[in-house]
Symmetry: C2
Subunit: 405 residues, 2 copies
């Protein structure tokens, strides 16, 4: 394998551990020595930075800076959501040639993996010696062929913590119903993760709705009513990806300007819509909470397991690349056994480029308003330390004794 420069880029929505993967790549590339890799280049704002030659020298970053960005929200290099044009790929190879980039590591979701795959094929067609390795990153946990995705565990921990805290608030000041909206455009992984807030039955969340099941408003209202009648309160978690019968996001913004960079409708508004339905149809006070971007930026709620795995995925990707193994994405492979352990594996890029992993059937209950224990077993180790638990008053009844009166 000839020597050359390595280039790393971040694509798509940030996660709270996306910089761990970046640091994993850079530290491993440094460790490998100058014989294997010379320049360590960071592209500013992903593919945009390659095309515009906005490239920074990551070898010159002090170790302490790398340590620091390990725990930083947002994508430290800057990210992008570029709609790739035909010309873009050729231009990228041109820039790679100019800067002698022989290793391209792309941290991203399935859109980014598609770009990586296309580049890998084009380089081969052009006989340009390039090794392309993908590093999975998405809070949505929707990449195929990996047990889970770096970024998911921390966002899962966020929703579990926040749902527990909101549950305590709602229980202490009835009657309101709180509808919490999670991120997750098409899949219910994050809504499902809120179930880890529970210590015992009837703890929040009382109901969970995922876009994997057809959403029926009447069933929903009847579910909410039942919980409310029994407990005098309810905490309901809904995915922003819930769609109505016509396939439109519940309460979603219908105007064109709010479509994303790929022209897709943007979700957001399900909780607010459902809270209004509860208020007007059931005549029960309901409010909605939509932490939005707070869920993927919260350093306070980071999962240590997620942090470690994101780092390892970056580190191992650099090793794969420097060994010349091109056209793969790193995966997390859960090993059998009581104690949780994931090894880093690899899958061909073309197999993840388009696929979208939905919550499997056995993770959602038959009524479609909660998760199963199988999901809990799957998800619990990914959030690292358990969600913070809180004491309760023992609340013994006060009785009047002679000495009191």
């Amino acid at each position: 394998m000839r020597s050359g420069n390595i280039l790393v880029a971040q694509g798509g929505g940030p996660t709270s551990v996306v910089n761990c993967s970046l640091v994993g790549v850079v530290e491993e590339a440094k460790r490998s020595g100058r014989k294997k890799v010379n320049g360590i280049i960071g592209a500013v704002h992903g593919i945009d930075g390659i095309i515009n030659e906005q490239l920074i020298d990551l070898r010159k970053e002090p170790s302490v800076t790398l340590k620091g960005i390990h725990r930083k929200p947002g994508a430290a290099l800057g990210s992008c959501r570029r709609k790739m044009a035909e010309d873009d790929y050729g231009r990228i190879i041109e820039v790679f040639r100019k800067y002698d980039v022989r290793y391209f590591l792309y941290i991203g979701g399935n859109g980014s993996m598609h770009t990586a795959h296309t580049l890998d094929r084009l380089a081969k067609t052009l006989s340009y010696g390039l090794t392309v390795v993908g590093i999975p990153k998405t809070i949505d946990n929707d990449l195929a062929h990996t047990d889970h995705c770096p970024g998911f565990g921390s966002a899962a921990r966020y929703y579990a913590s926040v749902t527990r805290e909101i549950g305590l608030d709602v229980a202490s000041l009835p009657p309101p119903i709180s509808v919490i909206e999670t991120l997750g455009r098409n899949t219910g992984w994050l809504a499902a993760a809120s179930a880890l807030a529970r210590d015992k039955e009837d703890d929040a969340p009382n109901l969970i709705y995922c876009p994997e099941r057809v959403f029926d408003l009447e069933t929903f209202l009847s579910d909410v009513k039942k919980i409310y009648d029994r407990l005098g309160r309810a905490v309901v978690v809904v995915s922003e990806g819930l769609k109505d019968e016509s396939g439109l996001y519940l309460g979603g913004n219908k105007n064109k300007a709010s479509r994303d960079g790929f022209g897709r409708d943007l979700p957001g508004g399900a909780a607010s819509f459902l809270a209004e339905e509860i208020s007007s149809r059931l005549h029960i006070r309901a409010r909605s909470e939509k932490p939005g971007l707070a869920a993927r930026t919260s350093i306070e709620h980071v999962s240590k397991v997620d942090q470690r795995e994101a780092y390892l995925a970056g580190q191992t990707a650099a090793r794969y690349a420097l060994n010349g193994e091109s056209g793969v994405m790193m995966t997390l492979e859960r090993k059998p056994g009581k104690k949780y352990h994931c090894a880093i594996g690899a899958v061909r890029l073309e197999e993840v480029a388009i696929a979208e992993k939905m919550l499997p059937k056995n993770f959602i209950n038959s009524r479609g308003n909660d998760v199963t224990n199988e999901f809990i077993d799957y998800c619990r180790p990914l959030i690292g330390d358990s969600v913070r638990s809180f004491s309760s008053l023992t609340s013994r009844k006060f009785t009047i004794s002679k000495s009191d009166v």
Copy 2:
């Protein structure tokens, strides 16, 4: 002063330090010895618990439990938002008589202080020996005659932290605009507090809107456009209390079922409404975040200063009560000098019962889209430890050297 029992209750919306005040009361009452106070009673769900005789024995709570609930979201005793009926007051005095309650400590906002004041007067009219002391509690910071309110500092810290984190996300993946909605029904204290997220100019938040100023949509859109044109992004913080010309909450829920226990319209929806306006009118992608209850329940973001002051307010209130000083609410009095220090003072209940403290004029800039340095100086000490700061890459340009090619 004759001996008797002490009763403590929590009213209105919880804060993340409302239980510190409760623990302050209970520990001080215990410390004072049985000669002064015998039973230490907690009312379950505030006034409701008194009227229904749902009373618990707080003397029997183990010290370790009290330590535990010190850091617990929600009101540990349970709270209420009762619309007081004429009969209720008489019934309360009846229960107090039955349980020999001679000291009533009420932790709450201005509604609760009104209740406390009415009870104090009624007890005097009926010649029932009762000492009533109020302990301020509200994230909204809108109580008069106190420098600030326990509960505010922690919620302020929450918004500053979350705004900083979201700011990093938005800066790393342009172009979106994020509109963050804060709690605060009629006052802008919490929206204003998000300004503490900034380390330097152009850090998030770029714009802040408070209900103290008349909201004008055209001015708002023009402000947003200016920021966006210059930076390619914007983080805008708006109070849920923003109202349109007709006095209705922006994007608020107009249906009757969603009014609160007092029949008041409920806000919530300003950020979502404004994000849609930005998208459709300016043709810039915008999204909204509305952490809602997460902001008043987050133990991760608690201000240590707020925690300490909430405890002290409870502790001092118990001392006042046991000294027979009735009809007052505890206040925080900021002392002059460079180093921040607040002493606990007192004000007559009737003076805070109805008043609502708005952001003073000198805390909002002339354009009405940001706070002033005077506000920053006022607010900074209240959040305790500074908001977490994050490293940045030094980002030196990568240049092609001979050895690279």
